[in-house]
Every structure is written in C-alpha cells, then in structure tokens.
C-alpha cells in the first residue's frame, strides 16, 4: 500500500514536473523565435548629398548666318536654352532673328518691293530634342584633349515674318566642344522647313542656318 501511494506521488511529481518543464520550454521557444525574427535591426539612415547640379545649358550665338530661300543670306542673332535629360539626350528651346534680303524677282523686275522693311524682320523659335550620338574627344595639337559631342537635333517651331506665322520643322546636326566642363563651344547647322505664300502660291522652303555659339552649363 505504502509503495503504491509512493508510486502515485512519484507519478504525480513526474507529471507536474513534465508539465512545468514543457511550459517553460514553450516559453523559451517563443523567446528564441522572437529573437530570430524580430525586426530589431537598426534602420540605416541615408542622407542626400548636398551637391549642385548642372543640367541646364545656356547658349548665346556669337555669330550666325541664315539663308531664307529667295531672300538671300543674312546675319542671325539668338540663343538657346537646353536641358540635359541624360548623357544621350537633351531638349532645347531656341530663339533667333534675322532680316530678309531682296528676292531675285524684286531685283530683276525693278517693280515695287514685295515686303516692307518691317515685314523683312524674321523671328523664329523652336522646341527640339537632340541625341548626342557621337560623344568623344577632340585633340588639338598635342596639348589638349577636349570632350566633345556630335548631336543630331530636330523639332518644331514657329517662324514669323511678312505678318505671318509659319509652322516650321527643323532638323540639323551640331558639334559641341567642352573647353571646361561648364563651358563649351557649339557649331550648329539646321534646316528650317516651312511653307509660305509670298509669291502667290504655297511653296515649301528649306532655309539653312549655321550658328557658332558659346554655352555655359549651370
């Protein structure tokens, strides 16, 4: 009898201790899992660098010449503002003005001029997209190696003369030589294509311009 009671005690004790242990082990398991998966990592701070950007380019034409079909070639004045999207592309808004000469008809016929002096003032602007398709370096003697770009450019714009607006497409090619990384020399050739009706019926004209400009990045 005594042994039996003792056996029961032992069993009870065992059961209790097992229960207690298992409870403890469960608690310990939770803690371990928490330790493993808890997102206790320190969040890394990332700060933005204080740095200047130079994506804009302002160009002033040092000299330019524009030929307006039938009206001769005259000096072109103007400038442009470009925004560099990435190393391959830039977008540009340009403005220019020139005057028209006498057409050969006016000179040969000796009749009254077709346009007044005021109507001979031509102004134009355009919005274009350009591709720096041949970036590289230009070597001058053995002293300088200057970064350069050959770009293709095209866009749409407006040409205003003879009291009329003319919708104008432009296509061209240019070369940019960087003397410093904020200073460049640009030589740009464009064909401005528009239609006019000065001679009675509409004709599409190709009007070439060449301009040499100096540009500053900012």
């Amino acid at each position: 009898m005594e042994t039996r009671i003792r056996r029961i005690h032992v069993k009870l004790g065992c059961a209790l201790s097992i229960a207690g242990f298992s409870a403890f082990s469960v608690a310990q398991g939770d803690a371990t899992i928490d330790e493993i998966i808890s997102p206790d990592l320190e969040r890394r701070d990332i700060r933005e660098a204080k740095i200047d950007s130079e994506d804009f380019e302002f160009t002033a034409y040092l000299g330019g010449i524009m030929n307006v079909e039938d009206f001769g070639s005259n000096a072109l004045y103007g400038g442009s503002l470009a925004y560099h999207i990435n190393e391959d592309f830039f977008m540009e808004a340009a403005y220019g003005q020139t005057t028209l000469g006498e057409s050969s008809y006016e000179r040969l016929s000796g009749s009254a001029p077709l346009l007044t002096e005021e109507e001979r003032e031509l102004s134009m602007y355009n919005l274009s997209l350009a591709w720096n398709f041949l970036p590289g370096e230009i070597f001058i003697f053995d002293k300088w190696a200057l970064n350069s770009n050959l770009y293709l450019i095209g866009g749409v714009g407006n040409t205003s003369f003879a009291d009329e607006e003319h919708f104008t497409y432009n296509v061209g090619v240019g070369v940019r030589i960087l003397a410093k990384d904020w200073l460049a020399l640009r030589l740009d050739m464009r064909d401005h294509i528009f239609e006019h009706e000065i001679f009675g019926e509409p004709i599409t004209t190709n009007n070439l311009s060449t301009q040499l400009g100096v540009s500053i990045y900012f």
């Binding site: 700060r47 130079e54 190393e87 977008m91 919005l127 970064n147 866009g155 407006n158």
Partner: protein, 279 residues
C-alpha cells in the same frame, strides 16, 4: 637519398610549428582590413584646389571608377580605392564630378556611388545618396517639362507644358501652345489638372480638366478681322508611357470649348503627341 630520418622529423616539426603560428597569427588579426596600402598612404590629406562648400565622403565600395567625362564612353583613368576619401563637386545628368585627396578630378556614375559615407560632423558614418532627378516611386513629387506637337483641328500646334505632381495620381499643369493654321493662328494658355488613376501601368491613362484663354488672330491676307480672345474650358484624355525613369511619351486628345462673344460657342478638338521629362 637525402631523406634522413632526422631531417624528416625536423621538417615535420617546422610544419607543425608553422601551422600553429599561422593559426595564432590569424586569431590575432581578426580586425578587418579597412584600408589598402595606398588608401592609408595619404592619410587625411586634402587637395589644395578644393572648392568651398563641397561634401566630403568616404568610398565604401571595393573600388570606384573615375571617367574623364560624364559619359559611359569616356576613358576610366583613375580608380578610387576602398576606404579612400573623396569630395563630391557637382552632378550632371547621371554623373558626379569628384575630387580625390591628391587633387585628381574625374566623373563617377551615380549608380556606382551606392556605398559612400559621410565623413564630417555628427552624421559621420551615415550613408550618403546622390539625389537623382526623375521618379523613383510613383508617389514622388516633382516637376516635369514637356514638349508637344499637335493637330488643332487641321492647324499645326506646338506646345510647352510645365507640370507639378502632388501625388502619384494627381498633378497640375501650365500649358502654352502656338497653333498655326491656313486661315488663322492662335495662342492658347491653360492651367489644367491631371488625374492618373493607374500610375503603375505601363500604358497609363489620364484625364484632364482645365481652363484658359485662346487668342486667335485670323490671317490678314484672307479675312480682315480683329484678333479675339476667348475663355476656354478644356477636357481631355490621354495616355502616358515611361521609356525611362525620367522620360515619358504621351498622347492626348483634348476638347477646347471656346466661350465666344458670338452667338455660338466653338468647340475645337486637338490631338497631341509629346514627351515629358522629369526634373
């Protein structure tokens, strides 16, 4: 023939000793190598012609290539080593001009500058990111500039727009356009609100609501009438697709409702094709 037992034992001893010593040396050198020889050679040297107000950082990448120009085709003529200090001079498109401790300058790709750390002040050791233009998440705020070509009921139009994005879905736009037609030219200036319900779609549609003015000048050679200025109401739908993080193409059809002073109001439908650049 030379393998005498004594020598063999000696060499075995040397081998064991070497192993033990090697293990000991490895244990003693647990601290990681933080500087290469040349990185530590110049210490805290500062270049003489360092511009003011430039940020100093330390390179945490294994190495950093410096190009002679801001373009992938230019020559890599210098490599900044791990642990070497450098200064960030300026950014152009996706490139940063940096100066090293020896005063050497070059251009680093922003994508390569992903492990640079601050050196000065309280933020010492903090990672530094070079801000890049464009959109990273679709909810980023930011400016955008767009050029467009359009057909304004038979007339050619060229447009310029400046937009600001408030949320991923909503943005405001200032728009100016010049249209040149056979019978009349006009200038339009508008302010519009754009809603993009699904900005994450590859081809993302948008709706447009705006108001503005329309200045029409009939061609003097055809009809002798005066310029007129009308208020316009603008509604439109369009679709946008991002070709890159910074560049999106867009196509749009908009209805201009001109509130004229004549008997009837006028409706003009405009088709437009253009691009936006995120700045």
């Amino acid at each position: 023939m030379n393998c005498q037992p004594g020598k063999r034992i000696l060499s075995l001893g040397a081998l064991l000793g070497g192993l033990l010593l090697g293990g000991y040396a490895a244990a003693a050198q647990e601290a990681p190598v933080v500087d290469s020889f040349s990185a530590s050679q110049f210490g805290e040297r500062t270049p003489e012609d360092l511009p003011d107000d430039v940020e100093q950082v330390i390179n945490g990448a294994e190495f950093l290539n410096l190009y002679t120009g801001p373009g992938r085709g230019y020559v890599i003529d210098h490599v900044v080593e791990y642990g070497e200090q450098l200064w960030l001079l300026k950014r152009r498109t996706d490139w940063v001009k940096v100066m090293t401790r020896t005063g050497k300058t070059g251009w680093a790709k922003i994508a390569d500058l992903d492990a640079i750390f601050a050196v000065e002040g309280d933020a010492r050791g903090e990672q530094v990111a070079v801000p890049t233009p464009g959109i990273d998440g679709y909810s980023d705020r930011g400016l955008r500039l767009g050029f467009a070509y359009g057909d304004f009921e038979g007339a050619n139009a060229l447009g310029l727009s400046l937009g600001y994005r408030f949320t991923g879905n909503l943005s405001a736009e200032l728009r100016a356009a010049q249209t040149i037609g056979a019978y009349s030219d006009s200038q339009t200036y508008q302010v519009a609100l754009l809603h993009q319900p699904f900005p994450q779609w590859r081809l993302s549609p948008y709706f447009l609501l705006g108001t503005g003015i329309n200045i029409t000048s009939p061609n003097a050679t055809i009809v002798a009438t005066e310029d007129r200025q009308d208020t316009t109401m603008l509604t439109g739908i369009g679709v946008k697709t991002h070709l890159s993080r910074r560049f999106a193409l867009r196509a749009e059809v908009a209805n201009h409702y001109l509130l004229t002073s004549r008997e009837n109001n006028q409706e003009i439908v405009e088709w437009k094709l253009g691009f936006d650049v995120f700045m």
